[in-house]
């Protein structure tokens, strides 16, 4: 496994990854969990490399998680203050990308409110791009951290019955998770009112339920999604209380899942609307704080893996002179250049 070459230059989504890609990242994530539990949580894998966080949408936990992940690997981490930046002064997305590219970062973590915007940026820069959430499209590191969380608690994800509940329509987390869990062999269910189920969701490789009790029957894991306040103003849902009555996770509904079913939530939580506090805070069944911990570990794994895969400008120049340059099987991504010293904990 350690020898498997991750061949993607960017991490734009779960789509496009294969099972081995995901398992490679999860295995590395596992090792970083152990490092993170040491007193000294420092590796120098990314020493000398520059990580830029570019969050066009407000985020506390994901941005912080990437910052910590980068610092623990020894990278120079810069978080661009978008709110006061030139973006607000009317600069286009592409111009921002070109400007940043000229600063020669190695890793660029981007969150943007428009689906596809991260991919667009990735075409304009030379460094590795990590999608930290684009519109309602993908949020791959969330899916990976969820998989890591489940795997560490239960073991093999293959064959588990996992329900994803709530605002599927507007959720990038749901899209990435369905893809990821399907690749890992889980039986995925989507539970939501019809207004929050995207058209064609039946074809995602998941069974769709509107009745939460029926949907939860026999589930090993229940993943709740975040529900934004503005969805409950009568357009998609009549009210918060009606949503909680039918689709909020309470003890009564959870009783329809397996007796020891685990509960995940990507945060931030809306207590009393999407999830009852006693469940969110449950000592053994709620994995919500573990998810946050796994988030840092899996992001370290992603950063390291992409940094290793990234072409080394100087080596690329040297290789260009050598015969038989390049690596077969690298797909659409740029060939991995000479590897920097791979130092994993």
């Amino acid at each position: 496994m350690a020898d498997y070459a991750f061949s993607h230059r960017h991490l734009l989504g779960i789509e496009g990854l294969n099972r081995l890609d995901i398992e490679t990242l999860l295995a590395l994530g596992d090792r970083y969990v152990e490092l993170n539990r040491q007193r000294i949580k420092h590796a120098d894998t990314l020493a000398g490399r520059t990580l830029v966080n570019l969050f066009f949408e407000n985020s506390t936990r994901t941005q912080g998680s990437f910052e910590i992940a980068g610092r623990r690997l020894g990278a120079d981490v810069v978080t661009m203050p978008i709110a006061t930046s030139s973006v607000k002064k009317g600069e286009t997305l592409i111009d921002t990308a070109m400007t940043l590219n000229a600063m020669r970062p190695d890793l660029l973590v981007i969150r943007h409110g428009s689906s596809g915007a991260v991919k667009l940026l990735s075409r304009k820069v030379d460094c590795a791009v990590i999608n930290a959430g684009d519109g309602t499209h993908e949020h791959p590191t969330q899916a990976l951290l969820d998989a890591l969380t489940i795997r560490r608690r239960i073991g093999d994800i293959g064959g588990l019955r996992i329900a994803i509940c709530g605002d599927i329509l507007h959720s990038r987390v749901a899209r990435s998770n369905v893809a990821c869990l399907n690749i890992l062999g889980a039986e995925v269910r989507l539970i939501a009112p019809r207004t929050l189920i995207p058209p064609g969701a039946e074809a995602w490789g998941a069974e769709v339920f509107t009745d939460m009790r029926r949907g939860l029957a026999g589930c090993d894991v229940v993943m709740m999604l975040r529900l934004q306040q503005e969805r409950m103003d009568g357009a998609y849902l009549p009210s918060a209380r009606e949503f909680f009555h039918y689709w909020g996770l309470d003890a009564d509904k959870l009783a329809h899942a397996k007796p020891d079913a685990l509960v995940l939530h990507p945060g931030p939580m809306n207590r009393g609307v999407a999830i009852e506090s006693s469940i969110a805070d449950h000592k053994t069944r709620s994995l919500i704080t573990e998810q946050v911990e796994m988030g840092v570990a899996i992001r370290m794994a992603v950063l390291e893996t992409l940094a290793k895969t990234a072409p080394d400008p100087s080596a690329a120049a040297a290789q260009a002179r050598a015969p038989g340059a390049g690596r077969a099987g690298a797909g659409a991504s740029a060939p991995a250049g000479a590897r920097p010293q791979a130092r994993t904990p």
Binding site: R194, G234, A235, L237, P238, R241, E242, H245, Y246
Partner: protein, 432 residues
């Protein structure tokens, strides 16, 4: 244990099974114990009623009734509406949500049910407002209201104009398999209209509602029902082309039912005559061709429900220049006579003509009544199907008297009405 009542020597008409035969019914408590030819004068019972050959059928179920309660009790209350219903042979009716306040919360649904339990002789079910305040902007608590007992959702006489709002409301309602009723209308085309658009309206100098106002909205509703998978009741359709559109959609698998106002089967646009404000209704009386198509639809079983579209309006809102007069007609007491008259004149079997006021609406709402079957609620009517009479609005039980049938000759009317085995109406001998 309550006693046993036998009604014998009757003409049994059961639209659910198509049965039309001599026989009788034994009622035990609130349910039908036996219905058929085997029930005779000699059947054991505590009370025996000789039907004297008159017709005995399930009580009518009316899916569209407005009362003024709450908010406009001077027009009609649940009590006066239920009196009118009992006198018309209507044993179950659905109140529309267009009240003041609108029936768009669980509390209002509870209010209607509790109030009806206390004062109504017949069974009353509320319909829930599809959007808050019927404003057509934000959906109501469809799940909770459905659970509280609303039998379907409707925006009443205010069509939801925003297709996005309607689509999401339908989609959400489909989560609960709730029935959504929509009266197809395009206000941009029909606002301010008095009658059907056409040559006659032009000659009278009146603003007309063109039939395409109905067609456009109906096609939209059918498309949204198709993509959302909701069960749709196209409420009060009034034209030939609407029936065709419905048939096409149903053949394509859309879960679409339709209702027709009883007056649409009886009157055409010419009946507005000399600016009769009692004939100002929504949808308006259409062309004779449309009326004939609706009657053919009734004969062929294409109409799921015929409704009274009971809409009481007091004199002060009707005795006005027709452009200023309120829309609406009372109909609870003329629903059965209207259908019986059409059955006689158009030679439609009674069991077929009564289907859209008995088993048809019962099946739409999943109600156990509306059929002469063992174990079904004993909601029954005894009527003389051919007795001629002339409608006089002053004889109506309704608090408002705005009936377009005023002065009309009709055939057939109710003699006696039972709800859950209890006699709630008996016509006085002087009018028998």
């Amino acid at each position: 244990m309550t006693g046993r009542t036998a009604i014998y020597n009757a003409r049994l008409i059961d639209p659910a099974s198509g049965r039309d035969e001599r026989g009788g019914i034994i009622i035990e408590g609130s349910v039908i114990l036996e219905a058929g030819a085997g029930v005779t004068r000699t059947s054991p019972a505590d009370l025996k009623i000789d039907a004297r050959g008159k017709a005995l059928a399930p009580g009518l179920i009316d899916l569209r009734v407005k009362t003024g309660e709450p908010g406009a009790e001077h027009k009609e209350t649940l009590q006066t509406a239920s009196d009118a219903a009992a006198a018309g042979g209507v044993t179950t009716f659905v109140v529309m949500p267009d009240t003041d306040p609108v029936i768009d919360t669980v509390a209002l649904v509870d209010f209607i049910k509790r109030r009806a339990d206390g004062v109504a002789k017949v069974k009353v079910h509320p319909a829930g407002g599809l959007t808050l305040g019927l404003q057509g902007q934000r959906m109501s608590e469809i799940g909770l209201i459905h659970e509280a007992g609303a039998v379907f959702f409707s925006n009443g006489d205010r069509p939801v104009e925003d297709a996005g709002v309607l689509r999401r409301a339908m989609s959400y309602a489909a989560s609960f398999d709730a029935l959504v009723a929509s009266r197809p209308d395009t206000p941009a085309l029909s606002a301010g209209s008095v009658m059907n658009a056409g040559a006659f309206a032009a000659r009278l100098g009146l603003r007309g509602a063109p039939p395409e106002a109905e067609w456009i909205a109906l096609e939209r509703d059918l498309m949204l029902a198709e993509t959302t998978g909701v069960r749709l009741l196209a409420d009060c359709i009034s034209t030939a082309r609407s029936l065709e559109a419905l048939e096409r959609a149903r053949r394509a698998g859309v879960k679409a039912a339709c209702s027709v106002a009883s007056y649409s089967l009886f009157f055409n646009e010419l009946d507005i005559g000399d600016y009769l404000t009692y004939c100002k209704v929504q949808p308006p009386f259409r062309s004779e061709r449309d009326r004939q198509a609706l009657i053919a639809g009734l004969r062929d079983g294409l109409i799921n429900a015929v409704v009274s579209a009971h809409d009481p309006q007091p004199t002060e809102d009707k005795r006005l220049p027709i452009a200023d007069a309120a829309y609406g007609a009372v109909g609870l007491e003329t629903l059965l006579p209207c259908l019986l008259s059409i059955a006689v004149r158009e030679d439609i079997p009674l069991a077929q003509a009564l289907k859209p006021v008995t088993s048809g609406p019962a099946d739409l709402l999943g109600l156990p009544q509306g059929r002469l079957a063992k174990g079904a609620p004993a909601d029954l009517i005894l009527f003389d199907p051919a007795a001629p009479w002339a409608c006089d609005r002053d004889d109506l039980s309704s608090r408002s008297k705005n009936s377009p049938f005023d002065g009309r000759r009709l055939e057939g009317r109710v003699l006696r009405t039972w709800v859950d085995g209890v006699s709630v109406f008996e016509r006085g001998q002087e009018r028998d």
